[in-house]
Each structure stands twice: as C-alpha cells, then as structure tokens.
C-alpha cells in the first residue's frame, strides 16, 4: 500500500539485474501501488532491456486497527492464497517492508523452507516511519526473517539482532 510501495521501490532502485525477475505481491484492495510499480519497471526497462517482473494479488490480511483475533483469521485466509503463489514462484529472496500483506507471504516461504521445498532468504526492512517502535509485521517477522533491517539507531538498540545501515530510502 501507498507509503510502503514508495519505500520499497526506493530500496529496489539501486539493485543490479542479478535481482531479476521481480515478483510483486499486492493486496487485492490496493488501488494505487500497481501504477507506481509499472512506472518504476518501465523506467528500469529503459536501462535494462531484459528486465522482467510479475504482479500478483492476494486478499488483504488485515485492516488498520483490526482486532488481534480477527487478524489471525484473515491472515490465515491470506495464507491460503500466498502459499500456492509462493510455491509457484519459489523466490530466492523475499524483500518486504511492513504492510500486512508481507506476513502471509513470508510465513508461506518460511513454511516451504521448513518442509525443505524451497529455501528463501527473507529480508525485512522496517519502514523509515518506525523510529522507536516496530510495526506489528515487524514484531512478527523479527523472528522469521533472515535479515531484519532498521533505519534508526534506537531500534537497533532495542532489537539487537537487527541490522542498522542508516537511512536507506
């Protein structure tokens, strides 16, 4: 969604073509991100002609301020979609930055890893908005990600297993 998409496209901006093809996963209710992504990829194709990407949608796992219990249910429902999608794409790397949509995708990849079907490196970059506290996605994925990146030093202190590179968006 919105801010998350802008941030993640900035993260992608300096990546080489080794990070290709790119598979974007959006929430079904997200109306604005698709245009931003297509615009980014179009620009990229000007420099890297063989650039490839796909776009998939899964049910939104959680609304803002949705209750804890119903969030578990809606997230499980999203996993019903993210699991076959992740299995199909078998990504080497999942890069995410906090929208609820990333939780079912990462959990699916984690599960496929446990089942020895595909080992995916999960890299989570907490949003630049998060200076003192982690988002709910962050709190969950801190335990499931291979690399957990924060953008402010207070968070590095509170979450010692995280990686601090300064502001990267």
């Amino acid at each position: 969604t919105g801010g998350h998409t802008t941030e993640i496209l900035r993260l992608l901006s300096c990546l080489s073509e080794s990070y290709s093809p790119r598979h974007y996963v959006l929430a079904d209710s997200d109306k604005m991100s698709e245009a931003k992504i297509r615009s980014f990829e179009e620009k990229r194709a000007e420099t890297f002609s063989r650039s490839q990407f796909t776009l998939d949608r899964i049910p939104r796992s959680r609304e803002v301020r949705q209750s804890w219990i119903s969030s578990v249910v809606t997230t499980l429902y999203s996993i019903l979609y993210s699991l076959p999608l992740t299995y199909k794409r078998k990504p080497d790397l999942i890069l995410c930055n906090g929208p609820g949509t990333c939780v079912p995708v990462c959990l699916s990849a984690f599960l496929l890893g446990l089942l020895r079907i595909k080992r995916t490196v999960i890299v989570y970059v907490e949003s630049i908005c998060r200076v003192e506290t982690l988002s709910l996605s962050g709190k969950i994925l801190y335990y499931f990600s291979d690399y957990f990146i924060v953008q402010w030093p207070d968070l590095k202190k509170k979450y010692p297993k995280s990686v601090y590179l300064g502001r990267i968006v």
Partner: protein, 104 residues
C-alpha cells in the same frame, strides 16, 4: 482534489508545505528542499506517525504540531532555522544485499 498520481508539480511551486505525518509526504517534501510543517492526527490511536515527525523535528528538519496548534505554529514559525535534509542511501542497501548473495 482527491487523489493524484503525483504531487511533484504542486511541490515544485510551493513555498511552504503543511502535511500529515505520512512518510511519503514528509520525505518527498524534504527531498525537494521545501520547508515543512507536519500535522499529527490526534485521533489515530496507534500514533506511530508521531515518531517520525518527532525525530525529524529533533534533528531540525521540520516543524510539527497538531490540528489545534497549527494556527499558532504558522504565526510563530521561523523557517530559516530548518536544516537541509540529506537524502537516504539505497546504495548501502544494495551493497548489503550484494554481500549476502555474494554478488561482486
């Protein structure tokens, strides 16, 4: 207007921006070198928006207030005291990932 694809044009011609504390709005404005007053939404319970605005204010990049103190802020502001905002460095992220995967 309701939603536009990009506010870049409006931003270019603005002398002062007053915005909510969304990261995209703040960063886009600061990167264009425009003075920014961030208005916090008191009614959002999980007010993590406040964290970024507070930090940016602490570092001297923006002014911030809430809806009720906006007028007062506009009347007493000193925009020349705001510091220029250095851009983020996504290249550091790219280097980091390259190391993880053993690329160059």
């Amino acid at each position: 207007f309701r939603f536009k694809d990009s506010l870049a044009e409006e931003l270019r011609s603005a002398d002062l921006v007053i915005s909510h504390a969304g990261a995209g709005s703040c960063l886009e404005t600061l990167e264009k070198g425009k003075p920014l007053i961030v208005v916090i939404n008191d009614k959002l319970m999980d007010n993590h928006q406040l964290e970024l605005a507070k930090q940016l204010h602490r570092d001297g990049y923006v002014l911030y207030c809430n809806c009720s103190t906006l007028v007062e802020t506009l009347q007493s502001m000193d925009l020349s005291a705001l510091k220029p905002f250095p851009p983020g460095q996504p290249e550091k992220f790219a280097s980091f990932l390259d190391k993880v995967f053993g690329f160059q």
